[in-house]
Amino acid sequence: MSARLFWLLAAKNLIRNRRRTLATGLAVVFGYVGLVLLSAYIFRAYMSLRTSAVYLNQKAHIAVMKKDSLTQFPAKPKLFILSSTEQKWIRDELALFKDQIEFSSSFLSGTGLLSMNGKAAPVSILGLEPKEYEMMLNHPMMRKWAPDWIARSSKTAAEELVKDAHGISITNLLAQALDIENRDIGSDAQLVTKTFFGDLGVGEGRIRAHHTTGIMLLEESSVIVPLPFMQELLATEGVEYVGIFLNDIGDTPSIATKLRADLGVGFDIWTYDSESWSPMFVGNMNFLAVMAILFVILILGAVTLSLVNTTTLNVLERTRELGTLRAIGFAPEHLLQIFRRETFLLISGSLLTGLLTAELVVAFVNNLNIRFKPPGTQSDVQFLLIIHFVAVAIMALLVMAMTMMATEYVVRRKNSNRIISLLTDAGG
């Protein structure tokens, strides 16, 4: 009995039972299309969320700060600031990874008052390095995965802060609270804070741009200034944390481990996927993972049950045929081989059809340019599906594995009967 004979018999059986083949095939096609579209949505969401967490939300791939600074800095900034000496240690350490690091940037935040036009508003001030900030917003990864997650005004803010060492960028809601309109861009403003010595820290700057944070809570209070200006306000040379941006995100765990070992217990090293450091990204991904697992189980379960059902019917109706084949010399293993090949041909064809159908659906949906505004984005984003072929291949393997197992189970059970039982079986 040759393999060629088994393939031939399998193909002829599929053609012979056209209706059942079509019904089973369609079940697999729809199930697989569902899985592919789900994976396309999740892949796009993951890449966009990850990219925006690293670059847009300034979490960086790796963040270095004083131990416990994450929770303690807002209340006791003076105790948890990275001093000039500590910054030098960190820079010296980063020099060891210079081929893997694209750039690094320092950040310093605080609270205060923004005073302008005789009005004042409480604000959260973020001091950052303007050139690096511009690099983050215009990074190729941002352009590829989250181009519409940044408002144009934020990019303008970055450009303006590069030019003016005392430039101030505020949000539109803050501008409304202070009765500022766009024509007041360039107007003087004063920022008031408490320095690390407990004195009144006052600095004068100019409103250079309006930016948006994408988070409602911050829209009424966010101010961005160049880092040296923030340091001047707080009377410090220190920074809150150093963000490290890598050439390859895959290097994150190894570099983070090395930094922890070299810098010692006095520092906390956070990665972009740490829940404490990047709660929005991690929280969103956990939600997507749960949703994905649920849907995969549901879809695979439905497809598998459908396969078990049709294969069982298939075997039951062909019991006498199986008995005849056994009577003329086909061993139980040979019958199993035929059914395996039938399933393989059917599922392969269905998966290919499903993939092509999914591609058409993806192209159609992407062309519709559906816009929505998820939390954390600065403007409307397009609902995009992006097929990732590794995910598609994994889904295909899963479907194939489930259906082959279903076939194995059903056929082996029937095969265990004696030839005479198979021949006289009424098919019930």
Binding site: S115, G118, A120, V192, F197, G198, D199, L200, V202, E204
Partner: protein
């Protein structure tokens, strides 16, 4: 008729008490620089907060309700100026193009607020009610409850202990709107100043303690109070702009 008489006597008593409280308050302002002539003194503020100590020195010049406060030390604060103009307060330093409006409630150093370093005009700014009379440190004291007449003052409410004999305030509880003490102050009057031929006591020390965390405190020491001629232009905030 009798009821009417009782009501009239009662109302008169209340008015009398209110007048008495106001007069006490006005007299107590004298001991803390609240007089119409120009006066200058030096203030040293030593604050202890969370185990850390820091010191600041100021030169204060006051005329009636206005005050001009210049920071003398530490070196990083030299040149900073606080101006009290009526009930408004301004901050200026040489690097600023124009002065900044600030609140007297804002923290200056430790437990001392911006409004604590200038002279005190509680009689103008607060309504006074006599709560009780008691003994404190062997002296008969009147306890007044002061309520702010406007909301841009340093404190909303103050419970004020004024010695009957000297008419000087020796203790203050600074209260929240809900009437809970969040800071407690104690005053000493070892200084003297001559006004209109009369030598009057002048505050020498104000100790302000956090009511919840008594280890956190600020001590303001007043030295060299002197009568001086001060031009009103000194307190004009427009003269500060570059």
């Amino acid at each position: 008729m009798r009821k009417m008489m009782v009501l009239v006597v009662f109302a008169f008593t209340q008015v009398s008490f209110a007048d008495f409280a106001s007069e006490l308050l006005q007299a107590s302002d004298f001991g803390r620089g609240g007089f119409k002539k120009g006066v200058s003194w030096k203030s040293k503020v030593v604050s202890v907060e969370d185990g850390e100590t820091n010191e600041r020195e100021f030169n204060v010049r006051s005329l009636d309700h206005d005050a001009y406060v210049e920071a003398l030390s530490p070196a990083r604060s030299r040149g900073e100026i606080y101006i009290f103009n009526d009930r408004n307060m301004w901050f200026y330093k040489p690097s600023l193009r124009k002065p900044l409006a600030i609140s007297p409630r804002q923290k200056l150093s430790g437990q001392a607020a911006n409004g604590d370093i200038a002279s005190t005009h509680y009689a103008r700014d607060y309504g006074a009610v006599l709560e009780r009379t008691e003994n404190l440190k062997g002296e008969k004291v009147h306890v007044l409850l002061l309520t702010a007449k406007s909301n841009n003052l340093t404190y909303d409410q103050i419970r004020y202990w004024i010695v009957d004999r000297t008419k000087l305030a020796i203790k203050a509880e600074f209260l929240t709107l809900q009437g809970k003490a969040f800071k407690i102050g104690e005053m000493e009057y070892q200084n003297q100043i001559k006004i209109d031929g009369k030598v009057v006591p002048f505050v020498s020390r104000l100790t302000v303690v956090d009511a919840q965390f008594p280890e956190n405190k600020s001590i303001i020491e007043y030295t060299a109070p002197t009568l001086v001629d001060l031009p009103s232009s000194l307190f004009n905030v427009n003269n500060l702009s570059r």
